[in-house]
């Protein structure tokens, strides 16, 4: 039917409207807007609109635009394709094997969309018709400056305080780590010393008597010297130079030169 639709069969009024539409195509805010405009020609409540008739009007419009070589934006063509699909759904008897929405459901949704858009248009118009600030009502012309007084308060917690205090009080105790050579006798030093001394050794002698001079008063120095001397003794014993003995646990360690050493 509509395939060989002749625009001259249209009522004059409708035809003029369609021609006006073509001229103003750039003025439309998308295919839904165009459909809404077309629907006005039906002069009925949007809830009672004939979607089938609307689809045909739209398709005619697109056809006209093509004839006049007016370039239509892609979404207008997408809508045309969808309306052609809707039209076929509305006209053909429902296919019982098709689970998709019926033509009536699709048509109802389109009608809803048109009604909603129309409602938003009217709401927008009502909104813009309201009294507006700077046009109908006005704000204070000489606003008085509100001086902003910025008050800064400082806070600190007890933890801050304690950490701060501990930081100061322990500052001296935290030095970068380095071996305190002054109070440490190395095993090498002890070994050198023992090697020089064993030549003069007689019978068993207490290890502590081999500590270097000045290393037995300060406990720290004494500890270091004892450890180094003991380690050196073990080294010498391993080399077969000396013998080591200890009477019982914690009793003095004694050393002597090995007879054949």
């Amino acid at each position: 039917m509509s395939d060989d639709f002749d625009s001259y069969d249209m009522p004059v009024e409708e035809r003029l409207a369609a021609e006006a539409l073509i001229v103003d195509v750039d003025g439309y805010e998308g295919p839904l807007d165009l459909l809404l405009t077309l629907s006005r020609t039906q002069k009925v409540d949007l809830r009672k609109i004939s979607v089938l008739q609307l689809a045909e009007q739209y398709l005619r419009f697109v056809e006209e635009a093509r004839k006049l070589r007016i370039e239509l934006a892609a979404d207008y063509l997408v809508m045309a394709a969808w309306l052609a699909f809707l039209k076929s759904r509305l006209l053909l008897p429902p296919d019982p094997t098709d689970a998709g929405p019926s033509g009536e459901e699709l048509a109802a949704h389109l009608a809803f969309q048109l009604e909603r858009l129309q409602a938003m248009r009217e709401a927008a118009a009502q909104l813009m018709a309201r009294d507006q600030k700077g046009r109908d009502f006005f704000v204070r012309g000489i606003p008085e400056d509100v001086t902003r007084v910025r008050r800064v308060t400082y806070t600190a917690t007890l933890l801050d305080l304690m950490q701060g205090y501990a930081r100061i009080r322990t500052k001296d105790d935290f030095r970068p780590y380095s071996m305190d050579r002054e109070h440490v006798l190395t095993m090498e030093q002890a070994l050198d010393r023992m090697r020089g001394l064993i030549g003069y050794m007689g019978d068993w002698a207490d290890l502590s008597s081999f500590l270097p001079e000045g290393w037995d008063a300060d406990p720290a120095r004494r500890r270091s010297a004892t450890a180094a001397t003991f380690a050196a003794s073990l080294e010498l014993a391993k080399a077969g130079k000396i013998e080591i003995r200890q009477g019982e646990t914690f009793s003095p360690i004694e050393i002597r030169k090995k007879a054949d050493g």
Partner: protein
């Protein structure tokens, strides 16, 4: 003065004095002032809300009025005297049809995503349109929608309410009727047809009125 003495005896200033204070604060500024800010600026123990109610009544029918703007208050000239103010009129940039419709959709459907705006208008929303409305401080970003893609939503601002003389978004003209007619509902295209990729966007709309 007797009044001063009274003021010092009681913690909060007398009601009449509190009303004067609210009056002075609202008069001084062009921006709406919240009740919380009023209370913060008034002496301890003052009840700005109560003073506001009294003040509003006092200005009833005067050349200026006390207008409620969201949760804030402002002094505005009576709209019927706008004709006297031609000198003060600020020429506002004329909004495009797209901008006006987008604004209305945000106001009536908020919080609303861009996809929802486009669905309602049946056409893409240009960046410029949204930018212009944001620049006017009539719309702002709302919370993200908790749907796939977490799209941002738009809501109207206090500035919007102030500009159109609305106490709240609930006072938008015709809001009740539109809601009653189901025109603020989200309805998806039955079956969502072949556009399966659009389906997520359609689903986004289900919680359109979650905040109300």
């Amino acid at each position: 003065m007797a009044e001063d003495k009274e003021a010092s005896l009681f913690q909060a200033p007398p009601e009449a004095e509190q009303e004067r204070m609210v009056e002075a604060i609202l008069f001084a500024t062009a921006e709406p002032v919240t009740v919380a800010e009023l209370n913060a600026r008034m002496p301890h123990g003052a009840d700005a809300a109560q003073a506001l109610a009294a003040l509003r009544k006092r200005y009833d029918g005067r050349g200026v009025r006390v207008a409620k703007v969201g949760d804030a208050w402002a002094m505005r000239t009576a709209p019927d005297l706008g004709f006297l103010m031609q000198k003060e009129t600020v020429e506002t940039r004329k909004l495009s049809r797209a901008a006006i419709e987008t604004l209305a959709i945000v106001a009536y459907h908020q919080p609303v995503t861009r996809a929802e705006i486009e669905e309602i208008r049946g056409v893409g929303v240009s960046r410029g349109t949204v930018d212009q409305l944001i620049e006017l401080e009539w719309i702002r970003f709302g919370r993200r929608r908790m749907t796939p893609g977490r799209p941002v939503t738009y809501v109207v601002t206090q500035n919007f309410l102030d500009h159109f003389g609305l106490e709240s978004a609930r006072d938008l003209p015709g809001l009740k009727e539109l809601r009653a007619a189901g025109l603020l509902e989200n309805r998806t295209l039955p079956g969502a047809a072949a556009d399966s990729e659009d389906e997520e966007d359609e689903l986004d709309q289900t919680d359109m009125f979650e905040d109300e």
